[in-house]
Each structure stands twice: as C-alpha cells, then as structure tokens.
C-alpha cells in the first residue's frame, strides 16, 4: 500500500470511530461549562445505545431504510430524560456530582441489561438490519486528494458530528444563551445577581449533555457494534470525557481531541493490515488515548483550565 492509500483508508475510518466520541464530548462540554461534572456520560451513552437498538429492532418494519436516523432521535430523547436524574440529584438535591455520575453509570448499564433480558430473554439483542452506511458525496468527491480522503465512503454520522461541533461552538460563544451557560459555570453568584436562573441553566445544560450522549451512544451501537450487550459501550463515555478535558472544555478542541482518539482506535482496529503499525503491539494503541490524557493534564501539552465553579452546587445566599 502506498502512503496515500493508507491515508485514504485511515482518515475516513478515524472520523467514523470519532463520531460518537465527538458528539458525546460536546455534550460533556455543555454540562461542565455550566458547572456540573458529568462522569455519567458513559451511562448516558449506554442508554442511547440501548434505546437506539431497541427502536431500530422494533420499528424497522414501520420506517424501513432510515430507521437508524429515527432511532437517533429516540435515543436522544431517552438519554435526555435519563440525564434528568443527574440534574435533579446534583442541582436540586446538592448531591456530590462525581458520586451521582458514578450512580448514573451503574444504573444505566443495570437498567438496560435488565430490560434486554426482560424483552429478549437473553444477554444481548439481535443484530439490527438497518445501519449507518457509507456513501459518496457527488461532485466534491472528484477533487483530487481531498475528495478520496473526506468525501468518498463517508458516513452520514461523521458529517453530523462535525456539524454538531461547529453548532455547539457557535451556540456557546456567539449567543446570549451560551454566554449565560458559561457564566453559570464560572461564577454562579454573579450570574444569579444578573437575573440568570442558575438552576434552570444547569438543568438545561445537563439535559443537552444527556441528549448528545444519547445520540453518540446510538451512533456507536448502530454503526460499530450493531447489537446491544453488556460490553457495547466499553469505556467510550470515559474516552469522550477525556476528549473533553484534552480539548480544554472547548467544543472545537473536544472535536479535535476526539478525532485524535478516533484515529488511535482506528489504528488499533485496522492497524494489523498496515505496514509499520502492525509491528506495534496493539496494547500501546489501546492505552494511547488514556496515557495522552494523563500527560495532557499533567501540563505537558499546555495547561487546561476547568470552569471555575465546577463541582460545586449553587446554594442561594451562601458566600
């Protein structure tokens, strides 16, 4: 294989594996920018993955081709509702945000497996018939170099992920809503004084993160695993969390980090057929994203500043 062929093969694969991570990480950005730590991303992805598969299997006769997109919608709604638990616990009940996130993760996987066993009578679901498929984008696919890399054999989900990232960036940095959301995460008391409803903003932010993580999970289950079982979302949510931190709590940064992690995942999965890479033991590629995150946090790759008020419940009148 020539170097170019390797690139044409790897770049679309990297974006494909990165898509669920990008969307989930952006969800994390919303929640944490509002001051609520969301370790529950993993669990929310699990809910999304499960609901996506459930919807796809149940309604495939009704919607036919295209079921997978409707399933995304269903997964988004389900995970957003599920994230309400996290919002209630952390915002209204003043629970420790990390602990609540851990509980979300435990609850999500337990509840989904419980439902799988109840509905299907076995440990994992059947494989879905309708899945995300590749297509070529007409006209632009003919551009030399860029065409084969970005516009041939693309997944609709890859495009969706990038669109969401750009949209999130615009919303967070160029709209009043985004400014309010960030202010609530930096200095809730100041925001409160200016008439912003801190609790409501945080509820909305957590639910946005739930919805996006749900989409991420459903994309993963309907394009990569194609069924749902106990190990479907094995650490993808934590990887998204890592991408969010690596990307310094910025939507585009998170996208960049997620793309990089997707690249590492693609390498570890398809690397066996590539020269040089196949000499590297796969374990190094598997742990690469995690080790990089630790290094990034240790400040080797620039200091990451978390939102100031992160992790603390806002209690009116307390100084």
């Amino acid at each position: 294989m020539s170097f170019l062929e390797v690139l044409y093969f790897l770049v679309p694969a990297a974006i494909f594996y990165a898509a669920p991570l990008i969307i989930t990480a952006i969800g994390g950005v919303f929640s944490e920018r509002s001051g609520v730590v969301n370790i529950g991303l993993e669990g929310l992805m699990v809910v999304g993955a499960f609901v996506g598969i459930l919807f796809n299997l149940t309604f495939v006769q009704v919607f036919g081709a295209g079921t997978e997109w409707w399933a995304l919608l269903a997964a988004m709604i389900a995970a957003a509702l599920f994230s309400l638990l996290h919002a209630v616990a952390t915002v209204s009940f003043r629970a420790d945000q990390v602990v609540s996130g851990v509980a979300i993760n435990l609850l999500a996987i337990a509840l989904c497996l419980f439902l799988v066993k109840m509905i299907y009578g076995k440990g994992q679901t059947d494989f879905v018939q309708e899945r995300f498929l590749r297509f070529d984008i007409p006209l632009v696919e003919k551009i030399p170099f860029i065409g084969p890399m970005f516009f041939q054999n693309v997944y609709g989900t890859s495009i969706l992920a990038i669109v969401i990232a750009i949209l999130a960036w615009v919303v967070l940095y160029y709209t009043p809503f985004g400014l309010r959301l960030r202010s609530v995460g930096e200095h809730p008391m100041a925001a409160d004084t200016m008439g912003i409803n801190v609790s409501r903003m945080r509820y909305i932010a957590v639910m946005i993160s739930g919805g996006l993580a749900g989409i991420g999970g459903a994309i993963y289950s309907q394009s990569i695993s194609l069924d749902f079982g106990h190990s479907t979302i094995n650490g993808q949510g934590f990887m998204a969390l890592a991408a969010m931190i690596f990307g310094k709590w910025h939507p585009l940064g998170a996208m960049g980090a997620a793309l990089f992690f997707g690249f590492a995942q693609a390498l570890s999965i398809v690397g066996g057929s590539l020269p040089i890479i196949k000499e590297v033991p796969s374990v190094f590629l598997l742990i690469l994203p995690y080790v990089l995150t630790i290094l990034a946090l240790a400040g080797f790759i620039g200091k990451a500043n978390a939102p100031k008020a992160i992790g603390t419940p806002y209690i009116k009148g307390k100084r």
Partner: protein
C-alpha cells in the same frame, strides 16, 4: 433529633428507599417483588454453602470499600480502585503461579506483590496531584483503562497467547479446608481474616497515629496543614499509595482465594466501583465499611439466585445499589425531610 442519629439514619433510609424502588421496578416490569426478594434472601442465607459464598463475596468488597473510604477521609476521590484491584489481581496470580517457594514465604510474597502493584497504580495519580495539581478523579479513571488493557496484554504474554494464567501453586493459596468443610465446600477462604485485619489497621492509622491525623488534616484543609508545618504533597502521595495498596489486596483475594488464576477481561470487574458505594454507605469509617460491604456483597451474591428461583434478571440488584447511591449522595434532601419531620413532632 441529634446530628449523630441523623447521620446514621440517612444510609438506613437510603437502603429502604432503594429496596422499595427495586420492588416498584419489578412490579412495573411484570415480576413478583415478593418472590424476587424471597429468592434474594435464599440466595444469601439459604444454606451453609450460600452463606460461605456470600462471605467470600464480601471479602474483596471490604478491601475495595476501605480503599475508597481511606482516600475519601484524606480528601481524595479514588475512582481508580477498580484498576488498582486489577493490577493487584494480576500481580498476586503471577507470583502465585510463577514461583516455587515454601508457603510461609510464598503466600505473604504474593499478597505483598498485589499490595505493591496497587500501591504503584495509586502512586501515579497521587504524584500527579501533588506535583502538578492534576485532579485525581480523571487520572484514576484513565488509569483504570490502562490497567485493564495492560494486564490483558501481560496475561497473554505470560500464558503464551492464552486467555488465562496457570492456576497458582497450593503454597500461595488462601483456600482453607477448614472453612470449606464448615460451609459445605464453598470457596470461602482465609482472605476474610486479612480483610477484617485491614479494617483494624486502617482504623488504627486514621484514629490513633500522628500520620493518620496529618492525612486527615490535609484532606480537610491543606492550607492550614501546610501552615502548621505538615508536608502536604507527601501526605497526598502517601494517602493514594495506601489506598491503592488496599485495593491491590482486594485483587489478591480474587487471585489467591476465589479464582486462583487471572483471565483476560472484556470489561471491568465492578468491585472497585461498588467499593465507592460501600464507602459511601459506611460514611467512610472503617467500621461502616464492614456494614456496607456486607450489604452490597450479600446483595450481589444473593442476586445470582434470582433468575433461577424467580426468573428475574440479576441486574435488578445493581439497579437497587445504584438507587441507594443516589439517595445517599442526595442525603441533603433526606436530612431536610428528617428535620421537618422532627420539628413537626416537637410542635405537637
């Protein structure tokens, strides 16, 4: 109502609420909750064998819970217990099967290897926290995955591409004929004694030594500790090392007692994460951890009987545990409720 009573009531109420929610979930999904909880009860206390197995299940939970609780008391949140437990499991199993030594040396060596591996896995986040002010929660989560993938690769290496190591030598085993006979040949092993001994050790460290006082002080207010001449960084690292060592011991229980080998894992064991629940329920005290571990260990093992006897998926118990954590974490609301309740009573 006194503060102490309220503090003790919160976990109790949380457990009751968790079980009620579990019953509702069963009812809504068309199962009989009474049949379900009866099956759970039989799964825990049914006969000598199940009691032995339940105690066996409680053993690693005590150590995992202790690890989380110890870190909590020193102001650190160690989510990495899972990873520390996995590396401890591997280290103990490797020493157990690769060496040929008399029991008096072999068994302690295998246990120490597990503790050392866990301690190393705790040292890294501790060092990063002390040196670079990196938040330990994220680092320990990442270390969990590094532990999972690394041990899997190591297991494949030492077993020549297989997916589990050889069985450990009898000289490194914690199994006991006496305990097995006592409990109708369950896998109950001497690890339970080690776990209970560690509870005592942690209690002594935290409550009776200067070092423990320093560790707690740093957790409560590191500026004040620094001002009064304590070495904050050293204490942070030491706390993570001790916590990691306790988690590693939890892995040794699985390696030397329950399974006597280590196999490639597709995902986490879950013991480390349940350790968080154990510590929370036990209010982060050594004695409380015993109660938390007993409850969650029993629930986890007893649940295995639910599919057979009542046709209910085992996951129902994980749902109950997650709900309990939610309620314990949201203790503020329960406290509020209790205060209102007691005020009304006084008014009458």
């Amino acid at each position: 109502m006194s503060n102490r009573l309220v503090n003790n009531l919160v976990p109790v109420i949380s457990v009751i609420l968790g079980l009620i929610v579990g019953a509702i979930v069963m009812l809504v999904s068309g199962y009989d909750p009474i049949l379900g909880y009866a099956a759970l009860w039989n799964g825990i206390f049914g006969d000598a064998y199940t009691v032995g197995e339940t105690l066996r299940q409680i053993t690693p939970y005590i150590l995992a819970g202790l690890a989380v609780a110890f870190a909590f008391r020193t102001g650190l949140f160690n989510i990495g217990v899972e990873g520390q437990l996995i590396v401890g499991w591997f280290a103990a199993a490797y020493v157990g099967f690769a060496f040929d030594l008399p029991k008096v040396i072999h068994l302690p060596l295998a246990i120490l290897a597990a503790a050392a591996a866990g301690a190393l896995w705790g040292f890294i986040p501790g060092y990063l926290k002390a040196r670079f002010k990196v938040h330990e929660v994220i680092v320990t989560i990442m270390m969990n995955y590094v532990a999972l993938h690394t041990t899997n690769a190591l297991i494949r290496t030492v077993s020549d591409g297989g997916d589990k190591t050889g069985v450990i030598q009898p000289t490194a085993s914690l199994r006991s004929d006496f305990l097995e006979n006592l409990t109708d040949f369950s896998r109950l092993h001497y690890g339970i004694i080690i776990a209970l001994a560690m509870v005592l050790v942690v209690w002594i460290i935290l409550e009776k030594t200067t070092r423990g006082f320093e560790l707690k002080a740093v957790g409560l207010n590191h500026y004040a500790s620094d001002y009064s001449g304590m070495n904050v960084n050293k204490n942070i690292i030491l706390a993570m090392v001790i916590s990691g060592a306790l988690a590693g011991l939890g892995g040794a229980m699985e390696a030397l007692g329950t399974f006597e080998y280590v196999s490639v894992k597709g995902g986490f064991t879950g013991i480390g994460f349940d350790g968080i629940a154990v510590a929370l329920l036990g209010a982060n005290t050594p004695l409380g951890v015993i109660f938390g571990a007993t409850l969650f260990g029993s629930l986890k093992y007893g649940a295995l009987n639910m599919p057979n006897q009542a046709g209910i998926p085992v996951e129902i118990v994980s749902i109950v545990i997650a709900i309990i954590i939610f309620f314990v974490a949201s203790g503020y609301v329960i406290r509020l409720f209790l205060e209102r309740f007691s005020k009304k009573k006084e008014a009458k």
